[in-house]
Subunit: 352 residues, 2 copies
C-alpha cells in the first residue's frame, strides 16, 4: 500500500477542507487510485505548526480552533509557525503552498521556490505564483526534477488545465473564452433582476460570494490572472498581466443591463485569448454584451465556464461549480493524484 | 522522430476524415505530441484494399472515388478487401476497426477480436464492440498486453471518457445525465418551433442529421448503448442494453411540447445512470420534461452534453459539438495519442 506524505503551508479554508478530505476519503482514494494520503506537517502564520513523520490525525487538524496559536493544543503542536522546518525536515513528498497576502503572489511564490529547492513537489491553488512567476518556478522544477501543479488556480475543482493539455492534444486549440469569476457573474445576474450595481455588490457580499473589498473581482484583475495562466499554459503564450487589456463590470449601469435584456442579450465579464494569424496570442478581459446563442450567455450565478475553440472540435465547453472550499480542495487532490501517477512512471523509468 | 503505423479496417466517412488529418496535421501532431502518423494498410469491403509497409500517400486515399473497387486505382491497391492480411501482415502498431453493419456490433466486434489476437492495439468509434462485448475484449487486451480505446463511441470528438477516468479520479463520481443524440434533440427543437413530430423528423433528414431509417436515434436505442458504455466505464457497472429502461421521443406530441413551452420547460431525450445507496447502478433513457434551470435544458440542436454528478464537485458539465466526421476522426486521433503515450511508458517499464 503506497502512502503519499503531504505537508501544508498555510491552513486557511481550502487546506482545512483538504484535511477533511484526508479524514473522510482515504478509502475511496485507495480504491480508485491505489494510495493513501498522510499529513506530516502543517505551518500557518496565525495558527502555529504541527509536525509528525508518522502522520498527524487529520481530525485533530479539522477540529482545531481558529484562534491564534490554536495548533499548540494539538499533541506535538506549537503556537509558532515553522515554515522552513515543515518544508525541509518533514518526510513530505508533496507540499501545498497556497497562502498569499494580497495581489503580489507573496509569500506563496517564495514558499513554492523553497519547496522546489528542497526537492519536493509543490501544489498551489493560488493564481499569483502561476501567473506571475511560472517561468522562474519551472526553472526550479527542471533543476530539481520535481513537479509544480496548480489545477485549482483557474476554476477551482474542475480540472480544465489538465483536461485541455492531456485530452485535447492534437486538436489545434486556438483560443478560449471564459466566465471565470463567480462574484461578477452573480452581480450581473442580480442587476438583471433590477438591482443597481452597488446593491448587487452588497447582495453578493451578503451571500458570501464577494469579499469585503471586492475590487479585484469586480474590476476583473482576478480574471486577468486566470486568463494569463490559461493563455500561457494552453496556447503557449508568455503573457504578463499588463499585456491583457482590462475593462471590468463597474461601468455597467442598470440601464445598460435593461437595454440588453430587451434585446434578449446578457452582459457578462468574459476573459478570453486567441492565437492570431501570425502565431502571437492576444488576450482581454472585458464586460461584453452577449447574444442569447453565445456559448457563455446561459452561465448564471457563481458558475464558471470555459469554451475552448479548436480546429478540429469547434467549440467545446466545460461548465462547473465556482470556487467552493471543497471544490478547490479537490483540485489539490487531483494534482496529488497526477503527481502520484507521474512519479510512479518516472520511478519505473529511473529503474530502467 | 517516432512514427506510429496505422491500419484502417473500413474506409467510411470517419476513416476518410482521419486520412485527411494524417495528410494535413502530421506537423502539428509532431510538434505537440512528438510523433507522426503513417497509414500502412486499409481494407474496405466496398472499395478494396491497399497495403504498404513504408506508408500509403494519405492524399491518394482521400482522393479515392467511392465506386466499388476504387482502391485498385491506387498504386499497389486491389479491388478486393484483404482484412486479414491488413491485420496480420502490415507493420501496424494500431488498427482502427469501426466498420459495422446494423445494431449487432458486427463485424466490428470480430475485427476488434482479430486485431487484439494479432497483438495490435485497437481503436473503435463504434458503440457495438464497447457496449456489447467489452468484457470479452478486455480479456484479450490483458492476454495480449495491448490497448483497446474507444473515446469516439460516446460523444465523438470530445474526450469525456478519458476526462472522467483520468481527471476526475477521486472525485466520487456517482452519476451522469446526458443529451447524447443530436438527431432527437434537433427533432425536439423543431417541434418547439411548431412542427409535428413527423415533419420534424423529415426536417432532420433533410439537414442530414437523421438517417433514412431514424428509428435507432428516435427510439433511443443509440443513446442506450452510450449509457451502457458510460455506466460501465465510469461507474463500474456491468450493464447490458436490456438492463436500461427505454422510452424514446416518438410518443411526444405537438401539444406535449406546447404545454412544456408554456411552463418554460423543455422536452429532452436524457440518458442517465446513477449509483444507488446499495452500490448498484441503475440507468434509464427517457424523454423528460426539464425545468429551465436543469443543466441540460439549454442544450440545443445537434449539440451533445454530459453533466457528471459527484461527491466533491457537485455537477460539472461538458458540452460539445455532435457527431461530425472530423470530430469523430479527432476522437481516434486522441486515442492514438493516448496509446502512444501509454506505450512509451510501458516500453520503459519493459526495459526495466
Amino acid at each position: 500500500m503506497a502512502t503519499c506524505n503531504l505537508a501544508l503551508i498555510g491552513f486557511g479554508r481550502v487546506n482545512r477542507a483538504l484535511a477533511e478530505l484526508v479524514d473522510q476519503r482515504n478509502d475511496v482514494l485507495e480504491k480508485e487510485c491505489g494510495f493513501r494520503l498522510r499529513v506530516v506537517g502543517v505551518s500557518d502564520l496565525h495558527l502555529g505548526s504541527v509536525m509528525s513523520p508518522n502522520g498527524i490525525d487529520p481530525r485533530a487538524l479539522t477540529r482545531a480552533g481558529s484562534e491564534k496559536g490554536a495548533f499548540s493544543k494539538i499533541s506535538g503542536g506549537h503556537a509558532a509557525p515553522r515554515t522552513e522546518q515543515v518544508i525541509k525536515q518533514t518526510p513530505s513528498d508533496i507540499i501545498e503552498a497556497t497562502y498569499n497576502d494580497g495581489e503580489s503572489g507573496q509569500p506563496a511564490i517564495s514558499h513554492c521556490q523553497g519547496v522546489l529547492a528542497a526537492r519536493r513537489h509543490v501544489i498551489t491553488t493560488n493564481k499569483g505564483p502561476v501567473a506571475l512567476a511560472a517561468s522562474a518556478l519551472q526553472g526550479l522544477v527542471k533543476e530539481n526534477d520535481v513537479a509544480f501543479e496548480y489545477e485549482g488556480s483557474v476554476i477551482s475543482g474542475t480540472p480544465v488545465i489538465r483536461m485541455a493539455k492531456t485530452n485535447l492534444s492534437g486538436v489545434g486549440l486556438n483560443g478560449f473564452q471564459g466566465i471565470l469569476n463567480g462574484t461578477s457573474n452573480y452581480v450581473l445576474d442580480r442587476m438583471e433582476e433590477g438591482l443597481t450595481f452597488v446593491d448587487a455588490v452588497k447582495a453578493a457580499q451578503e451571500m458570501g460570494f464577494a469579499e469585503a473589498n471586492p475590487t479585484a473581482n469586480i474590476e476583473g484583475r482576478e480574471v486577468r490572472l486566470k486568463v494569463v495562466i490559461l493563455a500561457n499554459e494552453l496556447l503557449g503564450a508568455s503573457l504578463k498581466p499588463a499585456d491583457v487589456k482590462l475593462c471590468g463590470i463597474s461601468p455597467i449601469t442598470a440601464s445598460d443591463v435593461e437595454d440588453a435584456k430587451k434585446a434578449g442579450e446578457k452582459w457578462k465579464l468574459v476573459g478570453s485569448a486567441s492565437r492570431d494569424e501570425d502565431g502571437s496570442v492576444s488576450a482581454i478581459v472585458e464586460a461584453k454584451r452577449l447574444e442569447r446563442t453565445h456559448p457563455l450567455a446561459e452561465i448564471s450565478g457563481v458558475t464558471n465556464a470555459i469554451a475552448f475553440q479548436s480546429d478540429l472540435l469547434g467549440t467545446a465547453k466545460v461548465t462547473s461549480p465556482g470556487a467552493g472550499r471543497i471544490e478547490t480542495a479537490f483540485a489539490i487532490m487531483a494534482d496529488i493524484i497526477a503527481i502520484h501517477r507521474g512519479r510512479t512512471a518516472s520511478t519505473k523509468t529511473g529503474a530502467a
